[in-house]
Amino acid sequence: MAGLNRAGLNRAGLNRTAPNRTGIAPRPVTTGVILGVVGLVFLIPIASMIEFTLRGVGGGYDGSHWAALVDPANAGKYAPIWRGLQGSLVLSLTTVAIVLFLLAPTMILVTLRFPALRRPLEFLCLLPLSIPAIVLVVGLSPIYLTIGRSVGTGVWTLAFAYGVTVLPYAYRAIQANLDAIDVRTLTEAARSLGAGWGSVLLTVLAPNLRVGLLSASLISVAVVLGEFTIASLLNRQNLQTALFVVNKQDPYVAVILALLALLFAFLLLLAIGRVGTAAALRRTTPKKDPT
């Protein structure tokens, strides 16, 4: 998308580093051609979305569809979107809570006390990649009938299912950080200085794992905000199901919100990338390339 095009402007950086990677890196002109062609093709749908939202009611272009979104007169019409967005935000928070307070402590515990369980845990956590969400829904629907009867049909209950969906992404982010620090030595040092397990977790391990925990949380938010399959087939309202419904009455507003959601997810992932790179740069000594 926009990124691919902006990458093309970075040619100065390319020339500077070309001598370092003799031979394997493509020539600047090859890079330019591939990036230019693929980037252009990939920009067309995004540009089309923008063009679509700017179409005026009687032909020509104006910002009327964007204005309509915030017009109080349309509050009733767009109410499902705000409800859906609210649902998705609640789900993001609860899913992040599952990652931080259920997955992360279990991974630390396995690293410290049950190293033999590392491979089985990894297998379990990556398993959801092999089970399509649509298949999971078939098994989840009777479970959610029971949950609906006992806990209620609140949208937040979906977080249990989403916790499983984000498992592979969150696991990888946290595990990469666990591999980079010496959990055992840190823990033993803290313990021998008299720290209890609570303060070991909160004041020693959590700060050292902040990059992994932050990445895991951000990527979970991105997954939850984009989730449609499970919510739609279990009849819960989140952002994506609301977009799907509103699209039938007012496609312009649905496209505007889709654009904004894509942009938000892009910024989230960019933040993850920056956080990760910052940590990597701090570990390897001199800062070679500030770009």
Binding site: A7, N10, G13, L14, R21, T22, G23, I24, P26, T31, I44, S48, M49, E51, F52, I98, L102, L103, T106, L109, F114, L127, S130, A133, I134, V135, L136, V137, V138, G139, L140, S141, P142, I143, F160, A161, G163, V164, Y169, A222, V223, G226, F228, T229, S232, L233, Q240, L243, F244, V255, L262, A265, F266, L269, L270, G273, T277, A280, D289, T291
Partner: protein, 301 residues
Amino acid sequence: MATAVHERVGVVDSGRRRRRAPAPAALGLLPFGVYIAVFLALPTGIALASGLFTADGAFTFENLGALGDPVILSAFGNSIWLSFLTAIIGAVVGAALSYAMLGFPEGGRARAIVDAASGVLAQFGGVMLAFAFIATIGLQGVVTLLLRDGFGIDIFADGAWIYELPGLVLPYVYFQVPLMVITFLPALAGIKPQWMEAVLTLGGTPGAFWRRVGIPVLAPSFLASFLLLVANAFSSYATAAALSSQGSSIVPLQIRTALTSETVLGRENVAGVLALGMIVIMAVVMTAYALVQRRAARWQA
């Protein structure tokens, strides 16, 4: 399980303070274990098994007959065909894009932007990608109108194919290429410049390097990424659901129909049978992926 762990750790640890620890430590695994059992193992088990039972709860293989139904067979055929086609296109274009990205320093801004954009399009697009393609090549789409008014070409002369199976190809390629970049770029970046220098020092050409070293080393990674793309397209639902709200040309859409209507094809538990079929195919693809990936991992530090 708790007692087994207790005994094993108890033998190793001799300190008095730590001897009491194992039981609570194993208990610490319990919450996550219960969570996984209820929300991963149980739904997967239900999805696998529900096709094998009648509505009264009696065990039967009769429902599996649905897999022989022409409609279901063609849905599986369409799904597999769509997955392979878009995976091949995605793998080739994605590999070219990854190669171009080698021109930028690792950890640099260009890589970060492409990484983030790839992540969004590959993993979180879903419904929104369907909107993007309706805005592009829908009946009122930008490209559709441009071709019609500017060049007199009506891309929908033979009917509104965007809402049918062929309409899925472009949106699927749109999320397959970024996924290829995510999975294949790390392998490509693992090629050491020293290998090229070694080949050149020994009198080889860059072409010889790619033929004899580069491509053989990358082949397993390429194949593994391709299989991941196949699995990705095969299990994808949201984009197809948003594009075609009526039809059920591929298996995930057949499952939607089966879940939202009581009886399909006059059979019971068709959703379960379809889920079983999907899991079997996914298991084959992902097992092949794991085997190839193990070989590919040899060259990755």
